[in-house]
Each structure stands twice: as C-alpha cells, then as structure tokens.
Symmetry: none
Subunit: 417 residues, 2 copies
C-alpha cells in the first residue's frame, strides 16, 4: 500500500526549516507495511494546499499531513480539506471539553482563538491529542484515507503511535518492512563501513543504511517481505554477523541509545555515578539524567569551568592544576576521584578539555580532551583528540565519557575506558 | 516569480535521509527574487517522477530539480524529463570532452556508463559542473524554465552559484524578499499571537510566520517588494510595533538566540553566574556554556539530584529540605544563594522541580518547577507549572531560568524573575 506525506507550513518553504516529521511518519508507516512514494511541502496558501491534497489523493491510498491545525489565522488545513471534500466544519463537543479541561489543568483561561481547534470536518473521526490541544482527524473518502496531524513533533509522534498506527494495522497489509537498528559507539563511520560492508554482497536482499552522528552510529538493515519468519531469520543472521564485526563497539541491536544502555548497566550493577565536567559544560550530566528514574543511579554533577571550582567543589589539588595545567590527565583523574569521594557515588567521571574555538596551543590543541573514570580501586584516564567545531567536540566528548561508563562494566575484573 | 523544487532519490523516501539541498536552493532563489511555493520528494520511479515534473511545470514558472543525473541505472531524471517534454536525448560533444578531460586529470579511464552523463536533452543548455562529472541542464519550455541539478550537495551548490544564479539574475526580477527575525521568550505561542496579530490587519502586505519551540518563539515578518527602501522601512515599522506589543518578552530583533543575549548581557554588566540545578540535570549549565568564550561569565554549576548533595555541595540547610520538601520555593532560594556564595559568582540561579514522568503528587504535580535568582542583595523566586513530557519540562525550565538571568538586568534597581 502506498502513502503520500504532505507537510503544511510556509516556514517549511523558507531557508530555515526542514520537514523532519516525515522521517518519523515514514518509519511508522513502513512498520505497518505502507510505503511512502511522495513527500510534499506546501505553504499556508489555501489554493496551493488544496492542489497538493487533491493530487496526493489522486495518487495514493493513504495521505498523511502534518501542520496547519493550530489556533491561528495561518492554520488552514482543516478548512482547506473540508472545502476540497465538499464537507462542512462542525464543532465537536467532546474535543471542546477535552481542550477546556486541558487549559483548566494548567490553570489558564482558554483563549477565544483556540475554539477553532474544536472544529472538525464533518464525517471525520477526531483523534485525541495526548500532548496538545489540536486533535488529529481521520477521514475516509472514496476508498482513500486522509489523516491530518498537528505539526508539533511531540504531538504528532504521540498521536500517530497511539491513535493512527492501531487503525492502520487493522487494514491487514501483508507485505511489511522488517528492520533492525544496531547502535555503535567509539568508531568513525568509515571504520564501521569497512567492518560491515563485506556482508552486503552475501545478503543482497537486505538494504543497509549507515547513519553517523556525534551521539553514535546507527546501522539499519532493512527488508520488505510477506514472510515474517523468513525475514526475521535473515535479519537475525546479518545482525549476528555485524555484531561479530563490530565487537565491543556494538552497544545495542535494538536501537537503544547509549543513555539507556548506561542506565541499565548501572542499575544492574547496583552502581551510582557522579560527574565533574569542564569543557562539556553539563552535557554529560544532562545525558545521564534525560532518562526517567535517573535519580536511582545519578548522584550529582559539578560543572567546574574555573580552576578555583575544580579545587573548592571537587577537591582537585591546586598544585596539580598549577604544575600540569587544567587540561591534563592528572586533572581528569583528580576530577573523577574527587567527585566520587565528595558525592559518595560508586563511580566518578572527570572530563577536562579544550572545546574551542579559542584556547588551543600547539601542545594542547582545540579538541584535546582527557576523560577519567574512578571507582574504589582507583582511576584510569584516556586521551582523545576530537575533530569538528565547539559543538561537535562537546558532543563527542560527552559521548565518549558516557561510553566509558558502559565499558567500565564490560570486563568485571578490570573495566575499560 | 514562483519556483518549485523537486528532489529525486528513493533514499529520500526512507526514514533516514532528508532533502537538505532545498534549503540552499530556497535561500539562493529568494535572493534573486524567486519564491518557492512547493517542494516535492520523489523516488527513482520514472512514472512518479514524470507526474511530479508535469505538475510542477503546470504550476510554477521555474522548476529546479536535484538528483538523478548520475551514471547508474537508477539515475533517470534526464530520460524522464526528455520523455515528458517530447524531446530526444542527444550526445553533447563539449560535455563529453570535458568529462574525458576530467577523468584524464584524475588518471582514470572513463567508465562506459559515464557516457550517459554526456547525453543532454535536445534544445537544452548544459551547465558545466565545476565539482563533478554530470552537467546541469537549463531547459526552456513554453515560457517555463526547468533546471536539472545533480544531488551531491557540494556539486549542486557550486553549479547553482556559478551557472544558475547569474542566468536567473538576468531575468531582471525586481521583486525580492525582505525579512526580519524577532525572538521572544517567556510567552506561549498563543500569547504571542494574541499580542501581535492585531498588527497583521494593519500591514496586510507583510506575511508573518510564528515558529514555536521550547527554546523560544521566533517571529519572521517577511515582505516581497521591488522597492528596498520602502520594504526596509515597513519592516522597521512593524518590528517597532511588535516590540511594543511584546514588551520585555522580546529578546532580539536580529534572530539571536537567548544564549547569546544572556552572554552579552552578563559581559556588558561585568557579571558572572553560577547555577545549581536539580530537575534540569545540567541543561542550564550546558546552554550557558555552548557559546564560545563562556568562561568569561560562567563560573560553574552543580547538578544536585540528591538532597544530600544539595546540602553538601551547595549548602542548602537540611532542615529546609526536611520541612519544606526538595521541590519548594525555599529550596530554590537556598540553591541560588548557596551556589552564588560557594562559587563567588555575581549571580546564582537555583532550579528545583519535578520533570516526571514519576514523582508527582496532587500538591506537587509533574511540571511544577521553582526558579530562583540571587545576587548580593538577596534572592527572588518564581513558580512555574510547565506542560509536556520530561524532555519538554526540562527544556522549558532551563529556558525560563536562562531568561530570568536576562530579566534580572532589565530594571537596574530591582530586576525581575
């Protein structure tokens, strides 16, 4: 079955914004066996929107749109689609009640303009929006299905998963996309490619995409099939081979981000962690705490930019900073050990480095980062020379530090960094 | 004048790849006075491609495509467009010579399949590709202009700038896009809309886009005009009126993010800041340090998840935590004042709250956040009840805290939070 995606919003026709919702929609549609054959971005003009919806409906069985359901004047998706289908907009009382309830919960009066969001297309099914005010709409028209979703990514995601996907699954499409998501840490993209590409020729029916980012590399082997058992077996086989090729750099075969792996590892080992960061400025603490329930394993963190704070808050001896410099293996070790002792955590992590763009020297260039990890038996450190600009260096350093916590538990007797 | 952009490539219809070329094309087209009214992504299927080109040519004076000009079987843009226009593909000898010369320069024989790239659409003008083999094609058809470009971003960029833009500039389009970018903090999108929408009616020639995110709201008033002086004056006027309507919530009329405004404000006031965060887990420190040179104004931060650390690292009296609870105005105030004293910063910021999803109670629900800011004269606090999931609550809370630093300097005698 074929779908088209329409992203509505004049801001998406400026040089500033991309329609990123279509990536999520494509992944979700693929999972229930629907292939995306066309994506369109259109502005807020009713005339342009009308044409896009009309053409999409002429071509595909399923049309999914995002955006234009807000309360303001330039939110015109509802009205335009109603006009195109020759239907009226009618007020939906259950939707209105939910919206009023939502505003009451936040202790704010509902602005008059939000009333517009309770208007639905005649004959459509409103899809309650668990994360926002505007409901989605499910519309059936002459054998086609039209699904209107809000443009706010968090709202669109929740609405699709909770309301749209179960309805699409009931269509009973047999050919589906089967996929795995492998996550890799501590290798560059070209290293990953060299390790896994020999497998492509042996499995020509599997299409593999590699995605690289400062928070790790993803491998997506994919196969369209109407035989689930066969497809899964084939994916298991290629995943097993990739795992061998990637070794300890493979962190998950189920698409879990490093934060989750680290959280689970710490919990399973009944360990806690504290961090003392300099160049990463809170990024490591932020990644350790973005998981719900992180207070079980995360004790606390210190962002010590100045040398004085490294000493006063974390207990790094001033003479080490004076003799070795703030960016040195010795300071990284003292940060890791100091924060562990001061906070009573099982593990301490220390990061010190030069994120740039200024502050580099020939001996200590921009991108130089020292990481250390300490437990009750001692501390180990590691030197990194990271590429990229300030943002990338900070992200790579936080990623490497997070990965050092995972690696600490790999070999029980020693750990790694 | 109106343009449509078509991105060709089946990989752009997977969940992994976005068409980013269109951002560059849009910026470049806008600069020569051409508005982008539609963007389409289509796969390698000749049938789908043909339909997309046909529809685009029916709607816009200019159609720009990227991708599908390579040497392989799935590069079908040339053939498909030739078929659509009822023209033949003919070998272009100058193009062939340039390609052969290019391969000679790299010391490689030209593969047979590359011959295909020397085939051009009859009556078209080949646009030499300074960075690759496939030339672009400039095609005029019944008053429309069709521009076929390669998909590799570096090739597309060089080709557009060197070959396409000068040709478009010769069209003598007088009307250009003029724009401003206002940034707003501390208001919800609907509040911003209510404040500025009365201006829309008074300036119907200005088209204003509102973009909302947890890191603030952007307003983009835009006007197409053939009179630069008049357009700039009009944008100055509407910007001035928006500034009045938004009051102290307006943080920039030049698109600067809050981090930059806060950095400049602190530097101008010779002030420094330290932060003690609980629910935001390092996010506030991270935003304060993402600007290069932040060590001038950022002293340090503590992420104190546990009550013990609030006391041991920041000096929050344990009896306040016991009697008022960790999420309370009193603890926020003690965090702000404590971190200021312990680090010697001019300002201290404290954040405590419940990011969820667990940990909420009827009295202290998920999303409840207390912010405090302290200087040598004392501390003030503010209560927020934030909507959304864990990630949004953390982002909104960090944003509000960052904004409280900016607001602190608004009224010299007192400041605000």
């Amino acid at each position: 079955m074929r779908a088209e995606i329409i992203a509505v919003g004049s801001e998406l026709l400026t040089p500033f914004r991309l329609d990123t919702n279509s990536l999520l929609l494509t992944a979700q549609l693929n999972e229930v066996g629907i292939q995306v054959v066309n994506k369109t971005v259109v502005g807020d003009s009713p005339e342009e929107m009308r044409r896009s919806f009309q053409q999409a409906l002429a071509r595909a069985e399923i049309v999914v749109s995002s955006g234009g359901l807000g309360p303001t004047d330039d939110d015109r998706t509802r009205q335009t689609v109603a006009d195109l289908l020759g239907r009226k907009l009618v007020r939906d009382e259950p939707t209105l009640l939910k919206m009023q309830e939502r505003f009451r919960r936040f202790g704010r009066p509902m602005p008059e303009i939000n009333l517009r969001q309770a208007m639905i297309i005649e004959g459509s099914t409103p899809l309650p929006n668990p994360r926002g005010t505007a409901p989605g709409l499910w519309i059936e028209e002459k054998g086609r299905t039209l699904i209107l979703l809000p443009g706010v990514p968090a709202e669109l995601k929740a609405l699709f998963e909770e309301q749209v996907k179960p309805r699409l699954a009931r269509l009973g499409i047999r050919q589906r996309l089967f996929t795995r998501e492998l996550r890799v840490s501590g290798l560059f993209e070209s290293d990953v490619e060299q390790r896994v590409s020999p497998l492509y020729a042996q499995h020509p029916e599997v299409d593999t995409t590699i995605l690289a980012s400062p928070t790790g590399i993803q491998l997506h082997p994919r196969i369209w099939s109407d035989d689930p058992a066969k497809a899964e077996a084939l994916l298991d086989e290629i995943t097993r081979r990739m795992a061998i090729a990637l070794g300890e750099h493979l962190i998950s075969t189920r698409g879990e981000p490093l934060e989750e792996i680290v959280a689970r590892t710490l919990i399973e080992n009944r360990a806690t962690v504290s961090v003392a960061e300099s160049c990463t400025g809170g990024l490591l603490a932020e990644r350790l705490t973005c998981i719900a329930g992180s207070s079980v394993y995360f004790v606390g963190g210190v962002v010590c930019y100045s040398n004085e704070l490294k000493t006063s808050l974390v207990g790094v001896p001033a003479e080490i900073i004076d003799s070795k410099g703030a960016v040195s293996p010795e300071v990284a070790l003292a940060l890791a050990d100091g924060i562990r002792r001061r906070t009573g955590a099982t593990l301490g992590v220390g990061i010190t480095g030069i994120a740039g763009p200024g502050g580099g020297t020939p001996e200590k260039p921009v991108g130089l980062v020292y990481l250390a990890i300490a437990d009750e038996r001692g501390a180990r450190e590691r030197r990194l020379q990271l590429p990229g600009d300030r943002e990338r260096i900070r992200m790579y350093a936080a990623q490497a530090a997070l990965d050092s916590v995972r690696r600490h538990f790999l070999i029980p007797a020693h750990g790694r960094i």
